[in-house]
Symmetry: C2
Subunit: 291 residues, 2 copies
């Protein structure tokens, strides 16, 4: 198996799409067609129906771990099988679990969530940098062993991300630039044949100027870009940190969750055929908008 | 049910002990007595045996979510039942899962992990502040509803915690003091009859001077103090941020994991009777050291 960055770049080029489909099963927004008493079953039916519609269209999906954890242990069992099913259909999987801890505990999270053989199998995992450089090492080590990727939270899409991430340091730069400096050695050591690194960052689509500046600071970095659509960022905002490759945009993926998997037309569908058509249509429109 | 801070303070006073027993099932350190092919079963046997030995001795346990996640979905199912079993024996449970996200995703984590009715039932949860104030709101809201507590990572026990947490801001104070300022309104709004707040912080036993300084900054704050024992901090280091109450130390708990649940004598035990005696002895010695 090639490295994560090479696999993702190949998948992006093959589909000429940087769209990442966020699988966020908001229980209160689940289409009426799928509602049933057992919420885990309802989410399972909805999520497993999405997989074949997304396969071949988008390079990667991003399940939101929180929404599965909310269902308790049965939700976690379902998340593990959903990830396997997606991989079997040729989709890559970024687990959005935002884990972070130190030493042997970080190593345990890495074992749990990184690589195709993990209990919660993935191609990549989101992680939190607040605990410092030594807290990232066990993740980087396991990612390299299992040819998986990492996306460290850098500048998130929410307004409150300014509270800590934008604090000015005595060197007159924001805290998230210090985080960028901290991760640079990991990032540089994980560049593969694609020219990109399997150690990436999360930066919100809501901050296009900062995306462009970060691209200059970390040219080989893969960006995971949330906040497009539902959180108000336009397609050109979302693309501000990506680069033009031979087939189109590359260097990262732009996530869309609700806009793709819960569009109004799909929620109003009275049968599976109409629901599928609505999801297909929302997916191709979003892919087009991001080209 | 009274608030988390009141329940924890009562439990501390009743036992005259601030010891929190960390349940960290390191797979490679599990005593030979419990080793078996199915690792989830091995961990289950070990952890469920610990519960009655700790009940009545320590006020609270702290399962390390990562070590259960590492076992995959079966580990998560076991974690949920372990927490229920501990509560049934009168132990309080702090889930050490270090969750953090924004908006509805943070709300989903809060639903999953906070309160006795949650899928992963707890009395309190550890959370990560890097995403800012708005990312903490859904946790605070759910904690208040379910009479649960929160411990925000502030200054962690690892050396690398200096990388971000100790960065000096342009106002010449470390980032973790800005985090302390950010959480103050939550902390103040969640003080109960005990005089302490159900919105607490994590500060490493390895930083006694900073603990003492933080106690002045946040007098009503409960401290969750890791790093005692295995990570090198002494009992007096670990107690530096606590306060003397009518029965002894209070205002937080000091965590010990391996030193308590995997002492050398217990690991050498050839039968359950000897193992239990070794755990009991390690527990009472540690309680004594922290008085």
């Amino acid at each position: 198996m090639t490295g994560f960055a090479a696999r993702l770049t190949d998948a992006i080029r093959a589909r000429n799409s940087v769209l990442c489909a966020g699988i966020d099963p908001h229980l209160d927004l689940l289409p009426p067609l799928f509602q049933q008493k057992n919420m885990t079953e309802a989410v399972r039916d909805w999520a497993f129906e999405l997989i074949p519609l997304l396969a071949g269209q988008v390079p990667v999906i991003k399940p939101q771990a929180a929404m599965f954890e909310r269902l308790g242990p049965s939700g976690m069992t379902m998340l593990a099988s959903l990830s396997q099913a997606a991989m079997a259909e040729g989709l890559m999987v970024i687990m959005d679990a935002k884990r972070g801890d130190i030493g042997s505990t970080a190593a345990a999270y890495a074992e749990a969530w990184l690589g195709h053989e993990a209990g919660f199998a993935s191609d990549a995992l989101t992680i939190n940098p607040y605990l410092g450089r030594d807290s990232l090492e066990p993740f980087a080590e396991k990612a390299q062993k299992s040819k998986a990727g990492l996306f460290t939270l850098l500048r998130t899409s929410n307004p409150g991300s300014a509270d800590i991430q934008m604090l000015q340091s005595i060197e007159k730069k924001p805290v998230f630039h210090h985080v960028a400096d901290m991760i640079r050695p990991f990032m540089e050591s994980m560049v593969d044949a694609s020219g990109f690194s399997s150690f990436g960052v999360v930066i919100g689509a809501t901050w296009p100027d900062e995306q462009a500046a970060l691209r200059k600071m970390l040219p080989e970095c893969l960006f995971l870009i949330p906040g497009f659509g539902a959180q108000g960022a336009s397609a050109s905002d979302a693309l501000a940190g990506l680069v033009k490759g031979p087939e189109g945009w590359e260097g990262g993926v732009v996530n869309s969750s609700r806009g793709l998997t819960m569009p109004a037309e799909a929620n109003e569908a009275r049968n599976l055929t109409d629901w599928r058509a609505a999801i297909r249509s929302a997916t191709s429109q979003t892919i087009q908008a991001l080209r």
